[in-house]
Symmetry: C2
Subunit: 206 residues, 2 copies
DNA sequence: TATAATCCTGACCATGCGTTCAAGAATTAC
DNA sequence: GTAATTCTTGAACGCATGGTCAGGATTATA
């Protein structure tokens, strides 16, 4: 093996562990997730997991940093140059797709916030707020340019996130009430259509 | 004391414990919530808590049954005799008020669903589904009567719940991104206005 | 091949927590 | 007043779990 392969094994195992951790943290929450069960899902002994991640808290931190990075990425569509109708539609579609394709990530984030965001409190009022303010400014810019009806940009995001992420976070509820074992792609399509219609209508873009 | 006061002390202490439990379960989740901390918040020794509630699981069950009862109650407005616009507006207002006044209840429910609804799975696909189907039938009835535009009634509820409950479940996030320590009544008013506008617009009731 | 660095893992430890228990205090019933 | 019932609580038990460690295996470097 070459020099660069030294870190390669580490990277491989860390990736495996992180994937398993994301799933277990999502399904059971931080406290109920045991390092033993994460290790088992990753296919290695518990002591080996603790070789790569000293503490459970450190592992969790890495997981949630990944999740936040993915979360922010989906907002690229929201930029001043874009047209509101297309941008918002694409953003909603992306959010719904994310809920369908990465439910674990969404659930980890939801669980973190739900219990007071003890791990990411500083980021929420720091760089994430900065990012959020910038995105709100884009909406305000569209409104000022007469491209859409005036709405509260901050609450627009809150509601939009809630409406799209609910299909990941609370999928069990939706599926049960629909009389299904789990949500089907068609359900996500229905959701996307309704949320898009609601948001566009509220923004006078219907 | 009279005979009826025998159960009175029990009822008093159970109520105290249930209130404390709702708060602790909401703030920390089921696993991270210790019976010791619940007892401390209720102002009595741990052993005494276990005298009234044999197991932590039994206590949790009682808490979540209460929460579900409150949750279902708020949907009284949705009935065939009502007018869609007024009924939906009142329903949304009630939901937002519930998020503002009973954030703990909403969070306990959210946490339960988020982690797979292990405790209330049967209810979700049982009596709650029946209740849900009835409410959807009301919407369908309104649509059939030409009182509102055709929308997917089931997803309308999912999105409506998400948009209103997010102000309880994820209040920490909203507050942080708004640059505040906690949400103010005015924030809930703004939320109610936006959600109402969105829903009514999507239903052709704007 | 020699040696250093990295990786692996069974066994162990310490702690926290749900639950039980026994013995007594307080309250109710007769 | 007295017996029966209900309530109270410190102490202890057993188990699960996060984390440690020592010694060995594997891989990289010279």
């Amino acid at each position: 093996m070459q020099k660069r392969t030294v870190g390669a094994k580490r990277r491989l195992n860390e990736t495996r562990i992180l994937a398993a951790a994301e799933q277990v943290f999502a399904e059971r929450g931080y406290s109920a997730a045991s390092t033993a069960s994460i290790a088992a899902l990753a296919g290695l002994p518990k002591a080996n997991l603790h070789y790569y991640f000293r503490t459970k808290q450190a592992l969790y931190r890495r997981v949630i940093e990944n999740v936040i990075a993915q979360w922010v990425e989906t907002s690229d569509q929201i930029s001043l140059e874009a047209e509101p109708k297309a941008a918002l539609s694409a953003y909603i579609a992306g959010k719904i797709d994310f809920s369908r394709l990465h439910p674990h990530a969404s659930k980890v984030f939801a669980s973190e916030i739900l219990h007071g965001a003890p791990t990411i409190a500083e980021r929420l009022s720091g760089d994430l707020k900065t990012w959020f303010d910038a995105k709100c400014a884009v909406i305000e810019g569209w409104i000022a340019a007469g491209k859409m009806a005036p709405v509260d940009s901050r609450h627009l995001f809150f509601v939009l996130w809630a409406a799209t992420q609910t299909y990941a976070d609370f999928d069990v509820q939706a599926a049960a009430l629909l009389g299904q074992r789990k949500l089907r792609p068609a359900d996500f399509a229905d959701a996307r259509q309704l949320v898009t219609a609601m948001v566009l209508a509220a923004c006078g873009l219907g």
